[in-house]
Every structure is written in C-alpha cells, then in structure tokens.
C-alpha cells in the first residue's frame, strides 16, 4: 500500500475511532504496533522498555485522538508520541539503563546467526552512544524509512535542520562504528 493510501486509510480509521468504533482503533494498533516497537527499541536498546513505550504510546494516542489533525499523517503524529515517550523513559531511567543481550537467532545457522547477533548488538551499542537527537534522526531515517519531510514533521524541526542533524549523526555513528572495528562484511 502506498503512503497516500495509508494516509487515507488512517484518516478513516481515526474518524471511526472518534465515533467509538473500537475495531478502527484495533486496526490502528494492528498496523502500527510493530513499527512503534522497533522505533522504541532503537531509541532505548531494551525490549521491555520498548514494549512499555509502545503500549503507552497507543494509550496516549487514543486518549488524545480528538487533538489529531487529519491534515497531517497519522503515523507522523504517533511516531512523535513514541519518540517523546522513549525520551521520557530514558530520562526516568537515567543512570540505570542497560542493553538487552541479543536473543540467539539460529535461522541462518549458528555461525551466521552469531555474527548477526554480534552486529546487532554492536550497532545498538553505537546508537546508544549518540545523543538522543542524533539517535532519533538515524532511527527514523534508517529503520523507519522516513523521508526528510516526514522526519521534520515528527520531530517538529525545519527540514534543513533535519538534513544537517542527520549528516552530523551519521558522521558520529560512523566514527563510533569504525573505532569499534564494525564493518558490514
């Protein structure tokens, strides 16, 4: 489904949700809970916290559904809520944060699975060494596949600020990964 069709679908679901149609709200959960969880995980590096943030994000979204402006994309709106929730969680847990140990995935065979797990951890560790602002733009661009304009809408920044922040973030991430000897091969 194209982004415009998604936008139209989401707009209809929100309208139905506002009229008390719980199936519409369930459809929004179904469409977005995975993406929100992955976004939160990249921001936090911890599955349990990411799951909590995902739940809180939908609760807040539904509580404030009346304030959603249908001229904007629903996913931009809910992604913004998710990022703010993730940052709040980071602030509350400041000093006590911990990264998950990778869950072994043997689908590609033990050796490749081990390499994948290692790479996943190294990248997540590198992400966590960035500032929240830099991690947010990297996550939105590389893992949520947002365009510059979508990132600007989610982060409430000017597009030119997104471009320069993304460039800085990539430079820093590249430096961290290189210092750790992380390569794709």
């Amino acid at each position: 489904m194209g982004k415009e069709m998604e936008r139209a679908r989401d707009g209809q679901l929100v309208q139905r949700g506002l009229q008390g149609d719980r199936q519409a709200l369930e459809a929004l959960v179904n469409h977005y809970h995975g993406a929100i969880f992955k976004l939160a995980y990249r921001m936090l590096g911890n599955r349990e916290d990411a799951a909590d943030v995902t739940q809180t994000t939908f609760l807040k979204a539904f509580e404030n559904l009346g304030s959603y402006n249908p001229e904007f994309k629903f996913f931009s709106w809910i992604y913004r809520i998710a990022i703010n929730e993730a940052l709040n969680t980071r602030r509350r847990a400041s000093g006590t944060e911990h990264l998950d140990q990778p869950v072994p995935d043997q689908r590609d065979g033990p050796e490749l699975a081990s390499r994948h797990d290692e790479l996943k951890t190294q990248i997540q560790v590198a992400l966590m060494l960035l500032t929240d602002e830099h991690r947010a733009v990297i996550t939105l661009r590389h893992y949520s596949e947002c365009s510059y304009s979508e990132m600007a809408a989610i982060l409430k920044l000017e597009e030119k600020t997104v471009r320069s922040r993304l460039f800085e973030a990539r430079r820093k991430l590249q430096a961290v990964l290189q210092s750790a000897g992380v390569t794709a091969s």
Binding site: R22, Q23, L25, E26, V29, N30, H33, G34, F37, K38, Y41, R42, R47, A50, A51, T54, Q55, F58, L59, F62, V103, D105, H116, D117, L119, K120, I123, Q124, I138, R141, H142, Y143, S147, Y148, R163, S164, L166, F167, R170, L173, Q174, L177, V182, T183, A184
Partner: protein, 229 residues
Amino acid sequence: MNEQDSLDIQALVDGELDARSAERLRQRLDSEPESAALVRELTALDELLASAPEPSVPPDLERRILQRAHLPVDRRADTAIISRLPVRNRRPQWQGFAMAASLFVAVVIGVGALFPDEMNPGLADQMTGTLLPQAERVGSAQLSWEDVEANLDLLQTDAGISLQIRADAEQPVLLRIRAPGESIALTELSVTGEQRLVYPLASSMEAIEVDVVREGRVVHSRSLELSGD
C-alpha cells in the same frame, strides 16, 4: 567541498533530490573524488545499518495494547479462530468433547420467523425445532461476559456451515450477530436463561462479530474468524 555540498550528496544517497539535481550532481562525482568518497561512505553506512537484523516484535504485544487500551470501557473485542476444515480433519481435535454431538437436536428460536429471507431454505426447513441430520460440530469458541455464557459452534451439514449459539444469562441480554465492520445485524438472540440459535453462514463469510447488548448498549464483543486452513 563545503557543508552544502555534503548535504546535497547526502540527499542524493537518500533519494531526496529531484531528478535534474541528482543527475547534475552525479556528473560532478567523476571529477570530484572527495564527493565520490562521501557517496561511498554514506552508502556503506546505510548498508551496514541495514545488515543488522531487526528486533522481533513480542508476539503478545498487540494483545497487551488492546487490553490496556480497551479495558477501561469494558468493550474490548477478543478474537477466536474457528476452522471450517472438513469434518474428518477436525475429529482428532474434538476428542475432549462429546463426540455424540455429531447428531443432535438444534432447537431454533425465532430465527426463521425473524429472518426468513436470509435463511438457506433447505436448512431452514430442517432447522425449526427439528433435527439437523448428520450435523457435526467442526469448530467451537466460548464467550463469557459477566453473567452471560455462550458456546459458539460451527456445524457442518450437507447444506453447508451453520453457526450455533447456545447461551445462558441470568439477566436479559441480546446477542447480536453481524459481519465485521457492519452495523446491521445478521440475526439476534434474546437470552434470558438458556437459549439456542442456529444461523446458516454464507460460504464466503470469513468472520463474524458477536455483540453482547445490554440495556441498548454494546458491552462486549467477540470476533470469530472462520479459518479455511
């Protein structure tokens, strides 16, 4: 290379330049090794980040969200999947149930009178207070809400698949059967004490919703997916 050049190259790698600007910039790369090197660096970083496996989503996360989001209003729909596999494939899964139910009496209350046009004529004739010959239960789910208990069964007969609802409630309640997303009911069953209803399902029907209506308000819903697998 100044900052603006770097941002333009980044936009090129990200596919954010219009076609004309992208082409113009690509032509410059041949004569600007520093710019070409930046393209390679950004592309390599993109590939590196993409090569890491995505975190798996907890399988029960959606259910947890729905529970938290809907419990305050006590109207959360839950979902069960009832398979309508051929009877012979279902039999092993029903050993815990009374297999004698393969031939049973289906007492139909009000369905034929209320919705004569929606009934399969052949089955409707068989149903009203009579036996459903060779009917066999091929799927089942339960609905429980406060004092309302209902068993939802799929019945296989030669005439097709029917939904049987056997309900019991201490206080009057209405069970409304409808297609998902539709507000108009296919049929309804008023329940005080024990009641039973059999409703023939169209072969194309993939799911139904059962609403529990009390004092004119939907207080609970149950979604039944009719799996063909």
